[in-house]
């Protein structure tokens, strides 16, 4: 071991003779193995991708809401994709929706959310020096970076990036002659996703190992904050489902380049009958959604975990039903694997399978409802502090419930016949998965910014950012349900070809205006975020008066997170407003023997175990013989 900072106790120096090699710039900020730096790398990359991804949605919202507008002003960026008359190219429209989906789902809400907070919070909240493998963790980020570079590069291809929808259903994605985006653009998409999956697996293995092996003294599973539970479950979901996406991607690559027929059969295109027979496009859909559905929860669960922590802290109340929260997350995670075919009710799949998947799908509503009600009960009789993080957490619960409810409609196969692939679906998943997870991300950034950068973000700007975003999101997606109920199909370049879509012109314009305003509101966040990094007020050690371990570290934790010994943990992380206690919070590292005035009888019994907990130290990498 080398290069350990922030370990100032002389005892350790004498015992183990660690040397402080000054780290070079590259080691410290670029190829860094410190989980906190890697988390920031994920966050910044995620923010850059979010700006790109949301800008794309603004362009196609202009196309959909104001179809007559002249887009010539975009020529400097989009060049040939804007025609001489200022119209968006229909092929590029498809590329935009495809890239928007891919970027937001994978690069922003998977890597940007889970990557940032799993990396940042797991070691800090379980009391570990770092991840189980710092090197793998670094590799995980740089594979993601490589995937990002390849995906970004594909945007500049002459024929455009992948354009078959983010689900890249073959044969459209398999046949370059079917669409310009299915040529080099799709090749790069597939390569990029393959690297992305590698990155997710490296990260996921690390998260799981760290949570299981590196918890500090006394940090039993039933004392883990819900954030850590959510990251652990998310990582398990990813570890099981991402390899399936990799296999489907590989088979697609085989079909595209090596003449196999996994997904292709009986195709006549461009005046030519292809030799492929016996394959099935439905096979791809099964494989894709076997990842694709758990992916929804990979995106959402970290948001739910963050929200649990933020709501409890700022309501100054223990989270209601801690065990029920864990159980419902486990339930959701398990069900996530057996509902994938509800995306495929009308693909020609056997209708009996449709019935089975309808039953399984609607069961998911039960653990989700439990979570919703538990959040509400946590708010009840609280003493709520509206930090920006808290506002976003509250908003997240609202969006999660509102968006989740329409899922009950779509999960019903009989109703899905009409609504499948309409804007009703788009509105549904943007609320429940897109906006809810994004709000979880915002809540996390506002809440842990002081720990990440040692500075405070501006509260008022954060609150303003919340209200514009929250109202903006609802103004976009509630009318979008209406458009969906009217039967408007998604991924349409314009709605001029059909009589049944010759309406709601005003509604579509309304949605677009609301979308643009919500987009603009995000610049409040960007300004606040980047300005606060440099000019923010210095953060106090525990700005939210929170219980979890990360607030026991120095204001800017160095390598190894804690100076001296790792803290020991004696209680769960939700002892807020405990009757009898002087303060309205008792951090996890305070033993029961010091809080006799507020202990419950069964907690007094635990005092006896404290000596035993203190004696353990097997998980401190800085404190073991080499």
């Amino acid at each position: 071991m080398s290069a350990i900072e922030g370990l100032d106790t002389a005892v350790h120096h004498e015992e183990h003779a660690h040397h402080h090699e000054p780290q070079s710039f590259w080691q410290k900020y670029v190829f860094c193995e410190d989980h906190k730096v890697i988390a920031k790398q994920y966050l910044i990359t995620g923010i850059v991708w979010a700006v790109i991804g949301i800008s794309m949605s603004v362009i196609f919202r202009i196309q959909l809401g104001m179809p007559d507008s002249n887009l010539s002003w975009l020529k400097p960026i989009l060049g040939g994709w804007i025609s001489e008359t200022g119209k968006l190219d229909p092929n590029f429209y498809l590329a935009l929706v495809t890239m928007h989906g891919t970027i937001m789902v994978f690069f922003v809400l998977t890597a940007g959310l889970s990557g940032t907070f799993s990396n940042f919070l797991i070691p800090l909240q379980i009391g570990a020096r770092d991840m189980a493998s710092g090197f793998m963790n670094m590799l995980s980020y740089w594979f993601f970076f490589l995937a990002s570079v390849i995906m970004f590069g594909s945007l500049f291809l002459q024929a455009g990036p992948a354009a078959g929808g983010w689900v890249i259903y073959p044969p459209l994605s398999a046949l370059p002659q079917a669409h310009p985006g299915s040529g080099m653009g799709m090749t790069l998409w597939l390569i990029s996703m393959a690297f992305f999956i590698v990155s997710q697996l490296l990260g996921g293995i690390n998260y799981i190992t760290t949570v299981i092996n590196l918890r500090t003294r006394g940090m039993s599973f039933d004392r883990l904050p819900l954030t850590i539970w959510s990251f652990l479950i998310t990582a398990v979901l990813g570890l099981i489902s991402f390899p399936v996406l990799l296999s489907s991607v590989l088979l697609l690559i085989f079909d595209r380049h090596f003449g196999t027929s996994f997904y292709l059969s009986e195709i006549y295109i461009n005046g030519e009958a292809l030799p492929n027979v016996g394959g099935s496009p439905i096979l791809f859909q099964h494989l894709f959604w076997f990842l694709g559905h758990p992916e929804v929860y990979i995106v959402l669960l970290p948001g739910l975990g963050i929200t649990s922590e933020v709501i409890a802290t700022n309501s100054r109340k223990p989270i209601f039903g801690y065990r029920a929260m864990i159980a419902s997350m486990l339930g959701i995670a398990f069900l996530a694997f057996i509902v994938w075919a509800h995306h495929m009710f009308v693909t020609g799949m056997n209708p009996f399978l449709g019935s089975v998947f309808m039953f399984l799908t609607l069961i998911i509503a039960v653990p989700s409802a439990v979570k919703g009600f538990n959040y509400i009960t946590t708010l009840w009789k609280g003493n709520i502090v509206f930090t920006p993080a808290m506002l976003f957490a509250i908003g997240m619960v609202s969006l999660f419930v509102s968006g989740g409810l329409t899922g009950i409609i779509l999960g019903n196969s009989a109703l899905d016949i009409q609504l499948h692939d309409t804007y009703f679906v788009v509105a549904h998943f943007h609320l429940v998965m897109g906006a809810a997870s994004a709000f979880g991300l915002f809540a996390g950034v506002y809440h842990w910014f002081p720990k990440m950068f040692g500075k405070m973000m501006n509260t008022t700007l954060g609150q303003i950012h919340f209200w514009f975003s929250f109202i903006g999101i609802y103004l976009v997606f509630i009318p979008m349900h209406y458009v969906g109920i009217a039967g408007f199909p998604r991924r349409y370049y314009q709605f001029t070809s059909y009589d049944f879509t010759h309406k709601f012109m005003d509604m579509n314009m309304f949605i677009s205006v609301a979308a643009i305003l919500s987009f603009l509101a995000q610049f409040i966040f960007l300004y606040n975020f980047f300005r606060s990094i440099f000019k923010g007020k210095t953060a106090p050690k525990n700005p939210w008066r929170s219980n979890t371990l990360e607030w026991t570290t120095p204001i800017v934790p160095g390598h190894g997170n804690w100076e001296g010994e790792l803290p020991a943990v004696y209680r769960w992380s939700y002892d807020y407003s405990k009757p009898g206690a002087k303060e309205d919070f008792i951090p996890q590292n305070i033993p029961y023997s010091q809080t006799l005035e507020s202990n419950f009888p069964h907690e007094n019994e635990l005092i006896a175990t404290e000596k035993e907990i203190e004696a353990q130290n097997f998980n401190d990498q800085f404190n073991t013989a080499h």
Partner: protein, 370 residues
Amino acid sequence: MYFIIALVALVFVVLTVVVVTRLQDVLKNVKKPESADETPSGNSWNGAMFIVLIIAAVVGITWSYLHAREHFLPIASSVHGRRTDDLFWFSMGVLTIPFIFVNFLIFFFSWKYQFKKGNKAAFYPDNHKLELIWTIIPAIVMAMLVFTGWKAWSDITSEAPADSEVIEITGKQFNWIVRYGGVNDNKLGNYNYKLIDAQNEVGIDLSDENSFDDFLNPTEMHIPVGRPVLLKIRARDVLHSVFIPHMRVKMDAVPGMPTKFWFVPDKTTADMRAELNDPNFKYEIACTEVCGQGHFSMKINLVVEDEASYKKWCAEQATFLQTYPEYLAKVPDNLKAKAMKGLPADTAAPADSAKTASTGGGIGTSAALR
């Protein structure tokens, strides 16, 4: 239209004004050091915003719903369509209750239990009874919704009745082609994708005698009213999806895997024109699975008419062989006489038997989904 934009703009302007005025108050207070007893910055106006939000949401959603409802689900013209519509509105009604209830509680509690000086939150970590209640109630509601949905779904996807009018619809980039079994036998002939060419767009296999009277139509689909219609759905190149909004019909068209959907249309185009008071009303078929550049305009019109007009229309259509008599060459010799029935005598030239043998024999044909 501009009224709407003005409205959104107004909402945001009001929001901005509220925020800016509050901001000034906040900035005045910002100098004071914060301690645990101090009201956190901006807490009261954020709390108040939740009440404003509840009122605005009730007004906004009610108004927009009433404004938009005339365009909701277009009038259903099929038997199962009205059933799923009822089910949809019933489910939406049921779900509106938790939507309002939960959102109200979230916002109301946020306002009601906002930070108050000297207040202490209740320590209320769990209650098994409550948890049990809100596990069981959603489970029961779900069970009810699932059951009604499942009944509808299994009826809709059951085997088509024997007297169904069978029509084939094939999707290709970027249009639909409809094929009928023909007036003589009303049976669809076999097809093979390798037989597809510029004229024979769906790969009709002319070695099957059922195909002799088949006819195609790339611009219009006609169906009879009041009896089951079974669509046999195919795709030639990439995925497509047959979507008939008024019939509540949607089913993917998959290359290499024929799919199907049956339904009973019960309103003719004329009925709908009268009902909607719109002499130009047309039923339309759209594509709802992204299929490339022309995805958004992959349209074919649908005409629903009474049995007599439907029969008349079918009889007027030229069969594939009538349109392209040169394809007689692909008919096996022993069936030539049958195939030539109904063809003008001069076009029914003797066929090149060598050519027939080479095309008819070499390729295995897949039976059309029966």
